[in-house]
């Protein structure tokens, strides 16, 4: 769990980890220099291993956690989101049943955030295929074929990572069950007015495309 100033929502996120029907063996919370007391909240949960670092963004924070992780399976949860109780049980069951499967996703229920911990004030939005870190459970061996999250991808760490996972031909499964609940903070539901995030999005997509072309050129050269 990468953490940065998520005090209002963190306890809910951690409780959703505690509530897993398949207990989580290791919970690493990496605090990226929070200033709102988030680290203290995380530390109050006995099952949490808290790692603190200087603020440097989401990808270095994720990678710092990955460096310390010891498990054979990896899962991620943003500090303002929640897992459904059966998430890991459903996904591990799928991985155990199919040795050729690298990673499993599930549906995500998105909701408009109340900006407080009051669940009654949340506004449901939709349920969609959860192609995101929150909804992913992956074999560590498979993750290592792709590598960690790219710092240059900015806020679109998963977009870049997923592009590389596709290039590595990782095999995935999308479960129909809802496995996570994802908080949408911003009122602007789209790409149009996002400034730096928009630029980062397109830059990441272009990087994916450039890598694809480079790989095709290598294949063409090797086949001559």
């Amino acid at each position: 769990m990468p953490l940065y100033n998520a005090a209002p929502f963190l306890a809910q996120a951690l409780e959703s980890i505690r509530a897993q029907t398949w207990p989580v063996q290791e919970v690493l919370v990496v605090d990226d220099g929070s200033t709102d007391g988030s680290a203290g909240i995380a530390a109050s949960f006995p099952f949490v291993t808290l790692i603190r670092k200087e603020h440097s963004g989401i990808s270095p924070t994720l990678n710092r956690g990955l460096d310390s992780a010891t498990g054979d399976y990896l899962a991620f949860l943003d500090a303002d989101d929640r897992w459904m109780p059966d998430k890991n049980r459903l996904q591990l069951t799928a991985l155990f049943a199919e040795p050729g499967l690298d990673m499993v996703f599930g549906a995500v229920r998105r909701f408009r955030s109340s900006e407080t911990e009051d669940k009654q004030a949340e506004v449901p939005l939709d349920i969609v295929p959860g192609l995101c870190k929150d909804c992913m459970l992956i074999r560590r061996s498979s993750f290592e074929k792709v590598g960690g999250f790219a710092t240059e991808a900015g806020a679109h760490d998963f977009l870049d990572w997923y592009g590389r996972a596709k290039e590595a031909s990782l095999c995935s499964l999308m479960l129909n069950e809802v496995v996570a609940e994802r908080r949408i903070h911003d009122d602007n539901y789209g790409l149009q007015n996002k400034g730096a995030q928009r630029q980062s999005y397109f830059t990441t997509l272009k990087t994916i495309l450039d890598r694809k072309r480079a790989a095709q050129n290598r294949t063409t050269t090797e086949n001559r």
């Binding site: 303002d80 977009l159 928009r198």
Partner: protein, 149 residues
Amino acid sequence: MSRNCFRLNEPDVSAEDFNSAILAVNLKNGYYHSLSQSAVPIWRLLMEGCDISQIVQWLAPIYGCTPENLTPDVQKFVAGLEQAQLIVPAAETVAPAQAPAWLSVLTPPYFPPVLEIYTDMQELLLLDPIHDVDVRGWPNVPGPGPSGP
């Protein structure tokens, strides 16, 4: 005389100009597209309110083509953009009075414009992964400020 003009199919489509390439994302179908070489100035001129005849008039001498040879390529390309739902017909626009300065850096040779279509990230792009990132970073609780609708 009426002009057939087009505009970006917002908000379903978003595009970014990387100087030597244009990248466009269709959030409705999850496809992303790349335009390069002659497709770039054609796209830019369309976005600036030019119709096909104006585009051909300015590009033909730059590429050493005759308007008669260039027009079918541009028509086919624009039709492809429309078919891909990247552009839609626009109400009458104000055409540029003169050729944009950036046209002066274009040089031959000419290659017919191509619209590249990529579907490999469809599942992810359909989810529009940008919308849940606060402008101040990740994940962040927006502070007090102008309230939304």
